[in-house]
């Protein structure tokens, strides 16, 4: 073993951001539970599609019922359904692993010592969570379109909107993409808040429990008529707006308002995450 050479005259005090982001995404995607989770998300539309075909049109109200013989509703129905619980939990899990999990493994310290600046670290972690949100939503959308066209079929390759009009495949795909983008926006808000909780604790499960608890509390608050005045503040109160994409003409009000609300949550969550991370002992 030769003695360590003298340090080369380099002055870089931080690694390139692109490399850090790529490493974060690689880390997220190498994690077995991420892959299992994404696999389950890909299954959601398939399971709904099979259920709709087996029920043969007698299956229920709402978007699932609207899917029968109208396959292009499936991706929107699946995303709307998953947004109520599964997608937020997936994002919360990613956020829990991102900071609290890294702390629990002692790896956050390693990153801070490299050093990765604390602000950059938040950016890195946020993009990892965002990638999970995008992949999970994208998988549901893509598998939903395929399963809708192949398994459910119907409507002559077109989409019958809730308003009773018929729109072409291209337009329908555009609407699926719109719902996917909107869903990712909502998930970004959940992710930002989950990251803030993650920056507050060393126990990943606390993050999951908080997000689950938050969803339940918001659901309950939103269902109490006497607390109607809270509706504009509850992130979940706009989560039915995805179905608007199936109306014609397309009303953007609901999705626009919930996106603004999500932006508010994202800014609050992001700001808190940064503030907490700048102070956090590692």
């Amino acid at each position: 073993m030769t003695p360590a050479p003298q340090p080369p005259p380099r002055t870089a005090s931080t690694a390139p951001l692109g490399r850090l982001l790529a490493a974060e995404v690689r880390w997220v995607l190498l994690r077995p539970r991420t892959l299992v989770m994404l696999g389950l998300f890909a299954l959601i539309p398939v399971v709904i599609a099979i259920g709709v075909v087996v029920a043969d049109g007698s299956g229920g109200r709402g978007l699932i019922g609207a899917t029968a013989g109208n396959g292009l509703v499936l991706p929107v129905a699946a995303m709307t359904l998953a947004l109520t619980l599964l997608l937020p939990l997936a994002v919360a899990m990613a956020a829990a692993d991102a900071i609290a999990g890294e702390t629990a493994h002692g790896t956050l310290r390693g990153l801070l010592l490299a050093p990765v600046g604390r602000l950059r670290l938040v950016g890195m972690k946020a993009s990892g969570v965002f990638v999970v949100a995008v992949l999970a939503t994208g998988l549901i959308a893509v598998v939903g379109v395929l399963a809708g066209l192949v398994v459910v079929g119907g409507a002559d390759g077109q989409l019958v909107t809730l308003s009773g009009t018929t729109i072409g495949l291209g337009d329908a795909l555009g609407r699926v993409a719109l719902v996917a983008a909107w869903t990712v926006g909502q998930l970004a808000a959940v992710g930002a808040v989950a990251l803030a909780i993650s920056a507050l604790t060393e126990h990943p499960l606390i993050v999951l429990a908080s997000v689950l608890g938050g969803l339940i509390v918001f659901g309950v608050l939103g269902a109490i008529p006497a607390l109607d005045f809270l509706q504009p503040y509850l992130l979940t109160s706009g989560w039915t707006a995805g179905a608007d994409a199936l109306r014609d003409p397309l009303p953007l009000g609901g999705m626009g308002e919930s996106t603004l609300r999500a932006l508010g949550y994202a800014v609050v969550g992001g700001g808190l995450t940064v503030a907490l991370m700048l102070r956090r002992d590692a």
Binding site: M1, P3, A4, P5, Q6, P7, P8, R10, A12, S13, T14, A15, P16, R19, L20, A22, A23, R26, W27, L30, R31, P32, H105, G106, T107, L108, R109, G110, L111, L112, L113, A114, P115, V116, G117, D281, A282
Partner: protein
Amino acid sequence: MNPHPDDTAVAVAGSDGAQPALAPPTDPAGSPAARVRGARKVFGRTVAVDLIDLDVPAGSVLGMLGPNGSGKTTLIRMLLGLTRPTAGTAELLGHPVPDAAAAALPFVGALVEGPGFHPFLSGRENLRRAATAEPLLTGREIPAAVETALERVGLTDAAGRRYRGYSLGMKQRLGLAAALLVPRRLVVLDEPTNGLDPAGTRDVRRIIAELHTGGATVLVSSHLLAEVEATCTHVAVLQSGSLVAAGELSRLLEADTSGLVITTPDVDAALRTLRGAGATAFLDGDGAVVVADGGPPAPEIIALLVRAGVAMYEARRRRPRLEELFARLTEDTP
């Protein structure tokens, strides 16, 4: 890794490292590699570190000694900018921490509070992830740096296995590898031999010696005294959050009580002869005769005994073991 069962032999041979053989090379900035002034850290009502002033001279191997809970790790975390001192200042390679830690940290390798890696990744993948965050490595250099570090700690063969399946020693080695990914100016090792087998301990010593030879500063914390005695040029002794002694190891030991140790089959004759000549002589616990300094010089004592016909196996300078020094320092302090 080369299995070497004879730990004791290694420890004795390694005691040469305690000699101030190399003059510490001066840091380009002329400042110590790390420095704290008036450092104090309070967690709630617990004072973890209390008003410590300490320099880690550039080029030294400083062993930080202290019982568990004496504040070693907290002090190291303050130096690395991982935690903000409640009061006082800390400097790393001349840069104030934590505020300007980013300027110094690329040149600092650290293994603090045990190795931290992801269980689902292989050792190599874990190291790659760590290397990605190293500012001094370009993307192209990463694979080679990872392999070199793996080889240096003897983990090349196990690098493809998941960290989950690593033994305590392998985990420790991987942590060491992460600290050595880049040529460093300062390497901070918190309990590096924790969980290592004798061969692993020997490797850690070898690595510390290599770093030292290469001009890097090493800060090792340990509660294993033999470990520090074998590898360090300097020591700092912590007790209940306070620094009770710090300095060059050889000076500290020399300042301690010394004398001449004479091994003889004829203890009574030796004691009688020496006391007759006005020297302070007594019997130590091992049955050897100890002649305290302050009386006749050593050559005269030996000549005296030879003339008196006292048989001798050996006569040597008594050098107190670090263990004694440490025990005294930590017991004296309330």
